[in-house]
């Protein structure tokens, strides 16, 4: 009877130990995954877009941002009507994710 009890206790301990080990391994994997994801999100690259619109609203051009661009800048002439093309929007679009050089 006592041998039986010892066996049950041993099995119980082994099961608890195994459960703890599995939990430890999965939790550490989750932590590493989350940390990596967090670091990648920090280093999201952006593409800057400049949108220029004709004053008569009949033409819109979308191009990459150039240094010196600002909203309200006259950016040439409209190829359709010859009116001024004015930069109406400058915004960033997420492009790709790269890994950071250091780990916080």
């Amino acid at each position: 009877m006592s041998i039986m009890q010892t066996d049950v206790l041993t099995i119980l301990l082994v099961v608890i130990m195994a459960g703890l080990l599995i939990y430890l391994v999965t939790a550490s994997f989750d932590y590493i995954k989350r940390r990596r994801r967090g670091i990648e999100q920090e280093k999201t690259n952006y593409k800057l877009i400049t949108i220029a619109t004709c004053q008569q609203n009949d033409y819109t051009i979308e191009r990459e941002f150039k240094e010196g661009d600002f909203v309200g800048k006259i950016d040439g002439k409209c190829p359709k009507c010859g009116s001024a093309l004015i930069i109406s929007k400058i915004y960033a679009v997420a492009q790709e994710k790269t890994q950071k050089s250091f780990k916080p």
């Binding site: 661009d69 909203v71 309200g72 960033a92």
Partner: protein, 367 residues
Amino acid sequence: MHMQIGGSDWNSILSILFWLVFMLYFFTDLPQKTQFLRYEKGVASRLAVVESLVKESISKVKMYLHKLGVGNSDNLIGNSLENYFAIEPVSIEPIDIIKRLDHIITANEDKYKKDLRNSIPNVGVHMLNNIAVSLAIVSALYTVFKILRHYYLLGKKYENWVLLMQLYLLLPQLVKELMPYVRAVDTFMKGIPIGDSAGPLTAFKLAGLAPRIDIEEDTVYSIVEIDNRKVYVIKAKGPGATVGKPGKAVAKIAEMLDYKVARIITIDAALKLEGEQTGLVAEGSGAAIGDVGPEKIEIERIAVKCGAPLDAVIVKMGSDEAINPMTKEIADGVEKAYQKVLEIIRNRTKPGDNVIVIGIGNTVGVY
């Protein structure tokens, strides 16, 4: 027999070990000392990350200053890092506190800009504003680093593990919140509109290329007619990085109009709560402006004097989005805010009324 003796030996060793661990754990400071070491190392490594962020931002500013042909960039940056603090006025006597606070802020800003102008005389006013804001970002990062280092060294000096534990728990979040500031240096130096430019961008959409009339330092207004209402659009003078003095501009325009103003509308970027969508536009009452007091109180006082309802239109965004290049979601939010302002003007004012619209925020990259 031999096996039994071996078994009892192991039992004795194990029981001695158990008691030893028990005594060490409950009757000595060993657990705290171990935790202290763990926290100390953790804080030191994260503090090194904050220091690297400060150094990265300094080298970025140096690079841009070098590109502009500024020779004494080391002196200039060193000067901006340590100087130009403002001491809060006495608050135990509240009379005139706003005037005193405004005086201190204005004097500090003037001194900073004059010194910067003397150091970089050959740069245009808009570029100078961009440099001033970039240096202010570097200075803010450096101040945060200095404060964190102070508490770290204090915790180490007095073996205050509670202080180190708080730093250990706080630093991962702080590091994440400080990272966008480094990227913001590039944004300001290149003159790219940021999330906080949502207010001035909405003002631009209303005013278009109508003449900009100077009314206050770094602040302009334009007059446009919308459905027979005279709309006075106030914003900071772009496209350099500045927030202007919108409160004082409102006061001057209201005085110019003999306080005959039907409505005052403020548009600003507002911090969203976690889980809220970026670019969401909401409307409320009051002055949507995030300054320390002088400009906001001016708008409120003028609204009361004119008996004009004060509308607030906000574009929601995260704190990192507010200081980094404007995202498409925020740009779409600006379009919605513009439509909302038009709706307020058309539905809540009468033809012939004077309306003041103020685009609050940093006008970097927006004319």
